[in-house]
Amino acid sequence: MMTTKVHGNHGDFAIEAKGLRKRFKTGRTFIEVLKGVDFDARHGDLTMVMGPSGSGKSTLIAALSGLLRPEEGRVDALDVDDLWKLSSGRIDKFRLDHCGFIFQGFNLFPALTALQQVETVLKFQGLSDGDAKKRAKAALEEVGLGPRLHMRPSSLSGGEKQRVAIARALAKDPKILFADEPTSALDGENGQIVIKLLRRAASEHGAAVICVTHDPRLEAWADRIIKIEDGVIIDDRRHVPDPNAVLASHH
C-alpha cells in the first residue's frame, strides 16, 4: 500500500480564487464565460463543481490550475500568492510538484504499459528509476490494477484506463487534484470505483479534490457542492458524504 501522507490540515484552504473573469472571442462577439467568480477549496474536501455544459465550470478549473490565464482576478494556491504572476515555467513547476489531473478522455500513451505511464510522470518529477517504479507500482495497486501493470491501453477497459490515469495523478501525491468529468465516459460500476478513489484521495491523502461534473448522482460523495451557471456561482453548500452510496448504472 502507498504510504499515506496527509497534506495540510483537513479544512485548511488549498486554493483560493477571487474575481476570476474570462472571455472568449467567437466571431466578432465576446462571450464572458467567467463573470467574476470567487472560489475556494480545502484540503481533505471533495469539492464538486456542477453545472450544465457551457456554464464555465471547465474554464474555472483551467484558470485555477494555471492552464488558462484569466483576464482578471487572482488565484492563491498553497503557499503561492497569485499563481498567475509566475512565469509559465514556474506555473508548470507548480503543477508538477503539487497538482494531479484527471480528464474525461484518459489520454494515455498507446505505447506505454500502465506501469510506464505512471513512471514517466514521476521521472519528470526527478525521481530515480527505482523510486519511480516503486511509487508507480504502489499507486497502481492502490487503484486495484496490480494484475494489470504491464498492459498497454489497448488491452485495458475504459474503467481500467481511467484508473491508470488516476494512478498517474495520485502517484505524484498531489496536494490539489483536478478532475474533469472523470466518470462520464464510464459505466455505473466503473464510475463508482473512480469516484470512490477520488473520495479516498481527499479523505486519506488530504488532497483538495476539485471535481467538475454534470452528473448529479456524484453529489452523494461530495463534502461540498458548488453550482455554477452562466459563469456565476449560484449555490455553494456543504454536504455530508455518504461513503456507501451506490452509483446506479447509466443504462
Binding site: 483551467a62 492552464l67 515555467g89 508538477l96 497538482c99 494515455l108 500513451f109 505505447a111 514517466t120 467538475v212
Partner: protein, 391 residues
C-alpha cells in the same frame, strides 16, 4: 525504456515513412558515392593485389594506367642500385581492339545467321605480366594455372565480368589488334566498368606488336624487396635517390592516393554533391511531415503531460529523442538497403563499395537530417494545450 523509444517501437508503422525517406536518402548518396569508389576500385584492384612492394611512377601520377604514369627505361637500373631491391619490372600496358569471332555453318541461311548477331568489337586495355616464376608483375591472387595458361603464346585472360561484353567464353578464339588469340583463362575480381581489361604475357604483347624491350619509355616500375616489411623505408630512400625524377610509393600509399584522386574530378563532386542536396531535401521534407503527423496523433497525451506539469522543454526533448531514434533506425535501414543494392549490382559486375568512412559520414548526416526534421516539427507541440482537454 524511454517514452520516445517505446513510442517508436510500438507505433513503428506511423514512423515507417520517415524511416524509409531517410533510408532512401542514405541509399541515394551511398550508392552514388559507392559506385564511384567502386569504379575507382576497378582501377586500383591492380595496385591492391600487385606482387610489388614498392611501385615507381612518374612524378604526379597516382594511378597505374590512366595517364602518363610510366618512366624512362633508364630508371630500371637506377632503382636496382638500392641494395634491398631484388627485382624490377616495368608494368607495360597497351590499348587494343578486341573482336570476337563467330564460326558460321555455311549451310545456314542469312536470316539464321543474323539472329546470332554480329561479332563484337571492343576497345580494350591490355595489361601485361611476366610469366617467369616469382615475377613481380604477377598479381598476388593469380594461380599457377593462370600463369601457365598465359605462358602459351597468343593467349589472353579475360575477367569473368567482361566476357559478355567481349562476346567470348573460355577457349574461344578472338582477334586482338588483328592477331588471332585464344581466351585461355578467366580471371575473377577485376571488374572494370569503363573499359574491359585483358591480360597477356610480355611475350604475347611483343608478338602482337605492343611495346617491346627497345622502347625508351616503359610503364610504372614494379619493385620487389628482400624484406617487404621495409617497404616504407625503402620507398623513402628511393625517393631521395631519385631526386624528384620519379616517385616511389608503397602499395598502401598508392591505393589511397588513387582512391582520393577520383574525387579530384570536378564532375564527381557535382554529382555526389547533387545527390547529397537532393537526399537532404527529400529526407527532411518527408521526415518532418511524418514526425508532425505522429506528434499530432499523440497531442492529447502530450497535453495531459503538460497538465501534470511536464514543461514544454521536456516535451521538446522527447521529440528530439524520438527524431534521434528515427534517425538511428533510418541509418540501419539505409545500410541494409545499400548492402542489398550492392549485392544486386555485383551480379551485374558493378562494384558499389561501402567504406567505413562513408558509413560514418552518411550515417551522421542521416541522424542530422532526422534531428533537423524533429526541430522543424517542434512547432506542433504548441497545439498541446491542456486547456483543450477540459471540455
Amino acid at each position: 525504456m524511454s517514452l520516445a523509444l517505446a513510442t517508436l517501437l510500438y507505433e513503428w508503422r506511423r514512423y515507417m515513412a520517415a524511416v524509409m525517406a531517410l533510408a532512401l536518402s542514405g541509399l541515394l548518396v551511398m550508392a552514388m558515392t559507392g559506385l564511384f569508389i567502386g569504379i575507382g576500385r576497378g582501377f586500383t584492384a591492380q595496385i591492391d593485389r600487385a606482387g610489388a612492394d614498392v611501385m615507381v611512377l612518374a612524378p604526379g601520377a597516382k594511378a597505374l594506367g590512366n595517364g602518363p604514369s610510366g618512366v624512362p627505361r633508364r630508371f630500371i637500373p637506377l632503382v636496382y642500385r638500392h641494395p634491398e631491391v631484388v627485382q624490377v619490372r616495368a608494368l607495360s600496358g597497351w590499348g587494343g581492339q578486341f573482336q570476337s569471332i563467330k564460326e558460321y555453318d555455311p549451310t545456314e541461311s542469312a536470316a539464321e545467321r543474323a539472329k546470332r548477331g554480329a561479332p563484337r568489337q571492343e576497345q580494350v586495355q591490355i595489361s601485361v605480366i611476366d610469366t617467369a616464376p616469382g615475377a613481380v608483375t604477377i598479381p598476388t591472387d593469380y594461380s599457377d594455372e593462370l600463369v601457365n595458361a598465359l605462358r602459351q603464346p597468343y593467349t589472353v585472360a579475360v575477367d569473368e565480368t567482361a566476357l559478355r561484353r567481349l562476346g567470348v567464353k573460355l577457349g574461344d578464339k578472338a582477334l586482338l589488334n588483328g592477331n588471332t588469340v585464344t581466351v585461355a583463362a578467366v580471371t575473377r575480381g577485376y571488374p572494370n566498368m569503363m573499359v574491359a581489361q585483358i591480360v597477356v604475357s610480355r611475350d604475347t604483347l611483343r608478338m602482337i606488336g605492343g611495346p617491346n624491350d627497345s622502347s625508351l619509355r616503359v610503364g610504372p616500375l614494379m619493385v620487389k624487396l628482400r624484406d617487404p616489411t621495409r617497404a616504407p623505408i625503402v620507398a623513402a630512400q628511393l625517393n631521395e635517390m631519385g631526386g624528384g625524377q620519379y616517385r616511389a610509393w608503397t602499395r598502401g600509399e598508392l591505393a589511397q592516393a588513387n582512391e582520393a584522386s577520383m574525387f579530384e574530378e570536378g564532375i564527381l563532386v557535382v554529382i555526389i554533391g547533387g545527390c547529397v542536396v537532393l537526399g537532404t531535401i527529400i529526407g527532411v521534407a518527408i521526415t518532418w511531415q511524418t514526425l508532425r503527423g505522429a506528434i499530432m496523433a499523440n497531442i492529447k497525451e502530450f497535453a495531459s503531460l503538460r497538465a501534470l506539469g511536464v514543461g514544454m522543454g521536456s516535451l521538446r526533448r522527447i521529440i528530439m529523442e524520438l527524431s534521434f531514434w528515427v534517425g538511428i533506425v533510418g541509418v540501419l535501414a539505409a545500410v541494409l538497403l545499400t548492402w542489398l543494392v550492392s549485392i544486386l549490382a555485383l551480379a551485374g559486375a558493378v562494384i558499389i563499395a561501402i567504406t567505413p568512412g562513408m558509413l560514418i559520414v552518411v550515417g551522421g548526416g542521416l541522424i542530422l537530417i532526422a534531428m533537423l526534421s524533429g526541430m522543424l516539427s517542434l512547432g506542433v507541440l504548441k497545439n498541446s494545450q491542456p486547456a483543450d482537454l477540459l471540455r
